[in-house]
């Protein structure tokens, strides 16, 4: 167990280091997010402002789409260069490879969000500070959930012929459930409590995260040795 965890951390660290050497990937993700903000603004700006419930929902829609750029190469890059074989023949459990990639995906996305979330809040004119602890927890759990789904989706893309088109096909079905819940929670944070207790939705989100992590981790060795 501990060796699996330290292997996961080593993999995450390796990927983060690689990312820092390349830089452009995280930067282009951020730029894409800004482009998305602009594109959505054409559709939703009315009278110089964005309705709060739409702006807060768009936050997660934009993160969701930005994730597509960040998560797609998580395993594809390793399978293209062949280095996945190095991970697959190392004496570590398969789940630690998956976990390492989830940690990396989380880090990558969080890095973008640190800049993106305040910008979107200002531009779309809503505030998550009404319930800052819950907002932070939602961002953490939501990003982790998207990273968990995105890493799995990237792994599933490996055997496919048309890798670029297939990633959204795999990412969408598994991530949409989280997206719906995240938008709901964020709306409640921004607009105030609705009919449904926000903690219930948060619990379902948490359950979704745990389900995705355990399901993916437990079947992951099948993805490593076809």
């Amino acid at each position: 167990m501990t060796s699996g965890l330290s292997a996961a951390l080593a993999i995450a660290k390796k990927d983060i280091l690689t990312q820092f050497r390349k830089r452009f990937e995280v930067f282009s993700m951020f730029l894409f997010a800004l482009i998305a903000v602009l594109a959505f603004s054409f559709a939703v700006v009315t009278g110089g402002a964005v309705p709060q419930e739409i702006g807060s929902a768009l936050l997660w829609v934009i993160i969701f789409f930005t994730g597509m750029f960040g998560f797609a190469p998580i395993f594809l890059s390793e399978s293209e260069t062949g280095t996945l074989r190095g991970l697959a023949t190392a004496p570590i459990p398969a789940w630690s490879v998956y976990l390492g990639k989830v940690i990396y995906g989380f880090f990558l996305m969080a890095l973008v969000e640190i800049f993106l979330v305040p910008i979107i809040m200002v531009l779309f004119g809503f505030s998550l500070l009404n319930d800052a602890p819950l907002a932070l927890a939602t961002l953490l759990v939501g990003t982790l959930d998207l990273a968990a789904v995105g890493s799995m989706a990237s792994a599933l893309t490996m055997p496919s012929e048309s890798k670029a088109t297939v990633f959204p096909l795999v990412y969408f079905p598994t991530a949409t459930s989280a997206l719906m819940l995240l938008i709901e929670i964020t709306k409640i944070i921004v607009l105030g409590p609705g009919l449904v207790p926000v903690l219930l939705i948060f619990e379902i989100l948490l359950a979704h995260l745990i389900a995705m992590l355990t399901l993916s981790a437990s079947v992951f060795h099948f993805a490593l040795s076809p």
Binding site: A7, L17, T18, K22, T81, R85, G86, P91
Partner: protein, 233 residues
């Protein structure tokens, strides 16, 4: 029990009616063979004969679809980690990360293999000198030539001192110096480590190996000591 102990002692890889398909194509058809423990074992055959497939099944990268396989006394599917920590793998592509330096790559793998820091340092010092890459270790891999990458990849595969070294076409595309260095190294460890080498170059294989297995279209067509090997086959 007795039989099993004996197998553990003398046989590195044993398969019985091993079958592996790719989709509808059969890559290995009821392959039954033994690779002895110790010495350099040759796995010969032309391209598409199933050599790489067999190597991948041995190294736990592919699941067999039928039959039995045991690697160093373990089933690669049942106890993959026991197999994985005993094998070292060199394939057609170096398993290195281009953005990282040679040393960072090696350190990353040493963490995956759970190596102690002192052991790692002494191994790197030894092997880097041996394969003449000690002056290149700080350089990002993407700046290295193909030959240097290959040398670094060989060092990577030897880092954890594997009992079983799996070399898939190790000499293809290798420059003369590296080939000689590697050949010399393999010779030195001939009696203390098992090495399985695949090659389609039979003259080469015949000169290097102690025993051989020949595959053709996924079927074993010959095996035995190299003295009995008939190159005209």
């Amino acid at each position: 029990m007795n039989l099993k102990v004996k197998l553990l002692v003398t046989i590195a890889v044993e398969t019985n009616e091993l079958t592996r398909r790719y989709g509808y194509r059969v890559a290995l058809r009821k392959v039954t063979l033994n690779f002895s423990k110790s010495g350099i074992q040759g796995l010969f055959g032309s391209n598409g004969a199933g050599k790489t497939t067999l190597m991948r099944v041995i190294s736990t990268l592919l699941r067999p679809h039928g039959g039995f396989i045991s690697v160093m006394g373990f089933d690669p599917q049942e106890e993959p980690e026991e197999v994985k920590k005993r094998i070292g793998l060199v394939g057609d592509k170096p398993l290195l990360y281009e953005e990282l330096s040679g040393l960072e790559n090696l350190r990353f793998y040493s963490k995956l293999y759970g190596l102690q820091a002192e052991f790692f340092d002494s191994q790197v010092e030894d092997l880097a000198k041996r394969f003449a890459i000690n002056t290149w270790l700080e350089e990002p891999v993407k700046n290295l030539s193909t030959g240097l990458k290959k040398r670094l990849d060989i060092v990577r595969s030897l880092l954890h001192n594997p009992e079983l070294l799996l070399l898939d076409e190790p000499f293809s595309g290798l420059d003369k110096d590296t080939t000689e260095d590697f050949w010399e190294y393999l010779n030195e460890y001939r009696n203390s480590r098992t090495t399985i080498v695949t090659t389609h170059n039979l003259a080469f294989g015949a000169a290097l190996c102690d025993e051989y297995v020949t595959l053709r279209k996924g079927v074993v067509v010959g095996q035995g000591p190299i003295a009995e090997f008939d190159q005209t086959l």
